[in-house]
């Protein structure tokens, strides 16, 4: 009671605001619950029950189409393959999130895991039928784009950030060129260029498939953004750190690897994760070059006349999936920061 009086009704304006919010909640929440849970149609072979008078949210759409949303146009009877692939990806995510697994072997696990996923998805050898990557789609495609994209863009971005601070003029100029050129255009135009223009530049007979071209465009794009984030971290390192490493005789790469980067990346965790999250959502832009990621699969599912008109449910579902991944990334980065906190404090009285 005391808490209520102090925090919610402490003054006239705050009392009014509290009442207004309560009224809004009273107006909005019960109907929402009624629609989303009580009256919802959870499963149905077609959309008729959803269209009946008084029916709430049509979750049956999701139940009916979940395979398509998860795996896109991948051959139906082969869905266990991307399914298994998603499980492998999740195992890799979880292992990578645990600090005690941060060993050289983790990189090997990733290589092995990604090779396994490649085999599962493509097939063509060892008893699996070949599935061309035109047919990959859904959540699996989104995860693959995001994972591969970040896995390649991040190391490249570190090189770009270091290159931009390099004393070698050519290296510096190339890094600046990459970063500024790529940051100056929207991702959409890069994707268009990759899918439409890139083939024109390749010699006769050489072709890179659409998925790979899109992925390259996204890596090029993300690397430029991440590079500036990493550079921000690098600039926060006091010059004395570099001098101390120099004075100990550590050559450039060892100094960078053991002294500078661990500190710079730690400082850059919040903006890095910010960029990762943005990148994860940006993968949905591949729709414009005809790839079926999570969002596009949902849109296609809605395109069937039988299920048209249930866009709200479909997009709520899409939002929840995106939110789950982004929220997990965000929470993880907060935990990581707290974990590293104890040694974060800088050297006393830096001058």
């Amino acid at each position: 009671m005391k808490w209520l009086r102090e925090n919610l009704f402490g003054s006239w304006p705050s009392a009014l605001a509290t009442l207004a919010i309560l009224w809004l909640a009273w107006m909005l929440v019960p109907p929402l619950v009624q629609w989303a849970l009580v009256d919802a149609v959870w499963s149905a072979p077609d959309s008729r029950p959803c269209r009946a008078a008084g029916a709430g949210a049509c979750w049956a759409l999701i139940a009916e189409k979940h395979r398509f949303i998860l795996f896109g146009t991948y051959p139906y009877e082969q869905h266990w393959r991307p399914g298994l692939g998603i499980l492998v990806l999740f195992a890799l995510y979880v292992a990578s999130a645990m600090r005690r697994f941060w060993r050289a072997r983790l990189a090997l696990a990733w290589l092995g895991g990604l090779a396994l996923i490649g085999w599962l998805m493509w097939g063509g050898v060892a008893g699996l039928s070949y599935v061309e990557n035109e047919r990959w789609g859904g959540l699996m495609l989104t995860l693959l784009l995001a994972t591969f994209g970040i896995a390649f863009a991040f190391p490249i971005s570190i090189l770009l950030a270091l290159g931009r601070r390099s004393r070698l003029p050519v290296v510096r100029a190339l890094s600046v060129l990459w970063i500024e050129l790529v940051r100056g255009v929207p991702l959409i135009s890069l994707l268009f260029m990759a899918s439409v223009m890139l083939p024109l530049f390749l010699p006769e007979g050489v072709s890179i498939d659409k998925l790979l071209r899109a992925l390259i465009a996204m890596i090029v794009f993300a690397a430029a953004y991440l590079a500036e984030v990493v550079r921000g971290g690098l600039q926060a390192i006091p010059h004395g750190q570099e001098e101390a490493a120099d004075a100990l005789g550590l050559p450039y790469w060892r100094k960078t690897l053991f002294v500078i980067l661990p500190q710079a990346l730690r400082i850059a965790i919040p903006p890095l994760v910010n960029t990762f999250i943005a990148f994860f959502k940006d993968t949905s832009l591949v729709v414009i070059i005809g790839l079926f990621d999570l969002l596009t699969s949902i849109k296609v599912a809605l395109g069937e006349p039988a299920w048209s008109g249930f866009g709200v449910e479909a997009y709520i579902f899409a939002s929840l999936v995106y939110f789950a991944f982004c929220f997990a990334m965000s929470r993880y980065s907060q935990n990581l920061e707290r974990d590293l906190e104890r040694s974060r404090t800088h050297v006393l009285r830096e001058n």
Partner: protein
């Protein structure tokens, strides 16, 4: 005698842009010799020590350290850095590593020492600077005096022949200065060649073989401490001494 010189500077000049910070410096430091460099701020004394391990380039003259001529080539600089340890005013410990890891980093990654040996050496050195019980703490958890002692041990872990100190006690609270100076006095007693930039005149009196007084980029006086403190030859040195001792 030339062979016994650990550090030799001949006619060294250095410019920051058009401003000349070091003018025609001649200085020879013999093996085992302890030099205290002093002078007003901006006199070039810090620049001079930083030159010895290649942290600063120079434009004219010649610097030789333990027979290796320091030029602008990375190999010579690397070779010299292996011989020379440096301690900074602001400690510059690596904050993401424990005290022990600060010590083992360079022996493992520069000297290719096995990790076990490097750790044994590190513990022994931390013992020597009387801080072994803090080996697994991070720099931020240590006091300034403790950090500076770790920094000294870190430099010693590379088994240097020469130790450079750039105002090692200037960033410390008064009550911590002694614990750092004590370690330095012991080091001197063991015969280390030392070049120390400091205003701790007590230290200079007891430890230095020679006090080198600099002003405006020049070496103005170079004399044994007794002579320097009791009978400075130049007006500039007298003025400087009256300023730092006169209160």
């Amino acid at each position: 005698m030339a062979d016994a010189s650990m550090i030799e500077m001949r006619g060294v000049g250095k410019w920051f842009g058009r401003f000349q910070v070091l003018k025609d410096i001649d200085l020879a430091v013999a093996q085992g010799e302890k030099i205290v460099l002093c002078g007003p701020s901006g006199s070039g004394k810090s620049t001079l020590v930083r030159l010895v391990n290649g942290l600063e380039p120079y434009q004219s003259g010649k610097v030789t350290v333990d027979g290796i001529e320091l030029k602008n080539d990375a190999k010579a600089i690397e070779a010299v850095r292996g011989e020379v340890g440096m301690v900074f005013q602001s400690f510059n410990l690596f904050p993401h590593l424990t005290a022990l890891e600060n010590l083992t980093l360079a022996p493992v990654w520069v000297r290719h020492m096995p990790k076990k040996d490097a750790e044994a050496l590190a513990l022994q050195l931390l013992e020597r600077v009387r801080i072994a019980e803090q080996a697994h703490k991070y720099p931020a958890q240590l006091s300034g005096g403790q950090q500076q002692r770790v920094a000294i041990a870190r430099a010693l872990a590379m088994r240097p022949k020469i130790m450079l100190f750039d105002e090692p006690t200037s960033a410390l609270d008064p009550e911590m200065i002694k614990e750092v100076l004590d370690v330095m006095v012991e080091l001197a007693a063991e015969g280390m060649t030392m070049v120390v930039v400091t205003h701790e005149m007590g230290f200079a009196r007891t430890v230095a073989d020679r006090v080198v007084f600099m002003d405006q980029g020049e070496i103005v006086e170079s004399a044994p401490p007794k002579t320097f403190f009791e009978a400075p030859r130049t007006e500039r040195a007298r003025l400087f001494l009256s300023q730092i001792l006169g209160h």
